[in-house]
Amino acid sequence: MSFSIYKYASPMTFYGLAGKMIPWFSWGAAILAGLGLYIAFFMAPTDFQQGEAYRVIFIHVPAAWMSMFIYMVMAFWSAVGLAWNTRLSFMMSRALAPTGALFAFLSLWTGAMWGKPMWGAWWVWDARLTSSLVLFFLYVGIIALWSAIDDRRRGDKAGALLILVGAINVPIIYFSVKWWNTLHQGASVSLMQAPSMAAIMLMGMLVMAIAAWFYSIAVAMVRVRGIILERERQTEWVKELLEKN
C-alpha cells in the first residue's frame, strides 16, 4: 500500500497506527534492555582501573546520547510543523519533550554517581556533563513555555521556534563548554575517558541506546494519543471512541 504522508498525517488514522505501535516498541525496549543489562553485568570484564564502578557507563552514555538525539528529533518535527503547518508534527515534539528531559536529568544523575567514586566529588565540571546540564535547562525552558501558553496553536508555533533556536545553539554550547573546560582545567579531568573502548562495551552501550530509543517511541506514542484525543475532542470519531470504551 502506498505510504502517503497525508494518509497518516490525519490525527485519526495516526491514533490507530500509534496504538498498534506501542506494544511492539514496548516489548522491543524490554528485550533489548534485558540483553543490554546482561552484557553490562555479565559479559563486560571488570576494569583494572575503575573496578566495577565503570558499569554506570552503560546507562550514562546512552542517556546523554538520547537527550541529545531526542532534542534533534524534536527540532526536526518543529521544522516540519512550521514548514507545512501539520498539527501532528507539533504534537510529536510535545510528546517527546518530557522523555528527553528525563534522559537529560538521568545523564546528570548517573554522571554524578560515577564522578563520586572516581573523582571523589558528586559534581564534576566536565565538558560533557556541563553541556548536558545546559541541555537540561533548554528542555526545562521549552516545557515551561508550552505550559505558559494556553492557546495551543500559539503554543505549538512558539515552542517550535524556541526549539529551532535551541537546536542552532546546542552545537555552539557544546563547543563553548569544551573550550571553557580546556581553558580552565586542561583536558586531564574528563569523565568520558572511559577505559579503553573494548568492543563489548561499545556493543553494550549501543544495545542500551536502542532500547532507550524504543522506550522513548513507545512513551511518545502513548502521550501523543492523549494529546490527539484532547485536541480532536469535537470530532465525531472521538465521540464514537468514547461511547465504545
Binding site: V134, F137, L138, V140, G141, I142, A144, L145, A148, I149, R153, R154, K157, A158, L161, L162, L164, V165, G166, I168, N169, I172, I173, F175, S176, V177, W179, W180, L183
Partner: protein, 222 residues
C-alpha cells in the same frame, strides 16, 4: 527600508528619554548586583580580581533580561505593536530596530559603568579595556537573543521569569567567550581567541535572531 529602522530606534530612544525611571533602575540593578559579591565573598583583592570577569558578565546578563521583558510589552498593551507590524516594511526590520534600540539604551551604559566596577574589583587598566571590549561585542548578543525571548513570551503571565528561563541557556556561549576573554588576559594569555569567537557568535546571532523574533511576534499577537 533604512529610514524605517532609524525611525524605530529613534522612537524607542524618545520613549526611553520620556521615562528615565526604567532606564535608571536597570543600571542601578547592574551596579548593585556586582557590588553584592564582595560582601558575600570577602574583600581579598586577589580573590576579587579572579572573579571580577564572571561577576560583571553574569550581572550584565541579568540586567539585560530584566529590561527585556518590557521590550514589546508596552507596545503590545497600547496597540502600537500591531500598528508597527501593519507597516509596509518587513517585520524583520522592526525586530532588528527594537533589539538595536534596546542595546543602545540598556547595553551601552553597561560599557560605561563596567570600568568603575572593574576598579572596585581591583582590575588593572588593560584588563578593564578587554572587559569593555568584550562587553561591547557581547551586549548586542544579549539584546538580540533576548528580543527573541521577549517576542515569544509576549503577554504571558510570569513573562519576566519565563523569559529568563528560556534565554539564559542560549546566553552560555556569550558568557563563556566574554568572561573567558577577560580571564585569558588576567592569565596573560591574551584575549584575541575568545574575542574573535565572541564576535563570530555575535555575527551568527545578528543573522538569525531578527528573523526568529519577527516570526515570534506574528505568532504572539494573533
Amino acid at each position: 527600508m533604512l529610514r524605517f529602522l532609524i525611525t524605530v530606534i529613534r522612537r524607542d530612544l524618545l520613549l526611553a528619554a520620556r521615562r528615565k525611571g526604567d532606564w535608571l533602575t536597570s543600571q542601578f540593578f547592574f551596579v548593585m548586583v556586582v557590588s553584592m559579591f564582595p560582601l558575600g565573598i570577602g574583600p581579598e583583592p586577589e580573590m576579587l580580581r579572579r572573579i571580577a570577569p564572571g561577576v560583571v558578565w553574569v550581572a550584565a546578563l541579568l540586567a539585560s533580561l530584566l529590561s527585556l521583558s518590557r521590550l514589546f510589552a508596552d507596545d503590545h498593551r497600547d496597540g502600537s505593536l500591531e500598528q508597527m507590524l501593519l507597516s509596509p516594511e518587513p517585520p524583520v526590520l522592526l525586530a532588528l530596530g527594537k533589539a538595536l534600540a534596546h542595546w543602545l539604551i540598556y547595553g551601552v551604559p553597561l560599557l560605561v559603568i563596567a570600568p568603575v566596577l572593574g576598579l572596585q574589583f581591583g582590575l588593572q587598566a588593560d584588563v578593564i579595556g578587554v572587559l569593555m571590549l568584550s562587553l561591547l561585542i557581547g551586549t548586542p548578543v544579549l539584546s538580540l537573543l533576548g528580543s527573541v525571548g521577549a517576542a515569544l513570551t509576549l503577554g504571558l503571565r510570569g513573562g519576566g521569569v519565563l523569559l529568563t528561563l528560556l534565554i539564559l541557556p542560549l546566553y552560555v556561549p556569550a558568557l563563556i567567550f566574554g568572561a573567558g576573554a577577560v580571564d585569558a588576559t588576567l592569565a596573560g594569555l591574551g584575549p584575541e581567541a575568545n574575542l574573535s569567537l565572541l564576535a563570530a557568535f555575535a555575527m551568527l546571532t545578528l543573522m538569525v535572531a531578527p528573523w526568529v523574533t519577527a516570526a515570534a511576534l506574528r505568532i504572539s499577537i494573533e
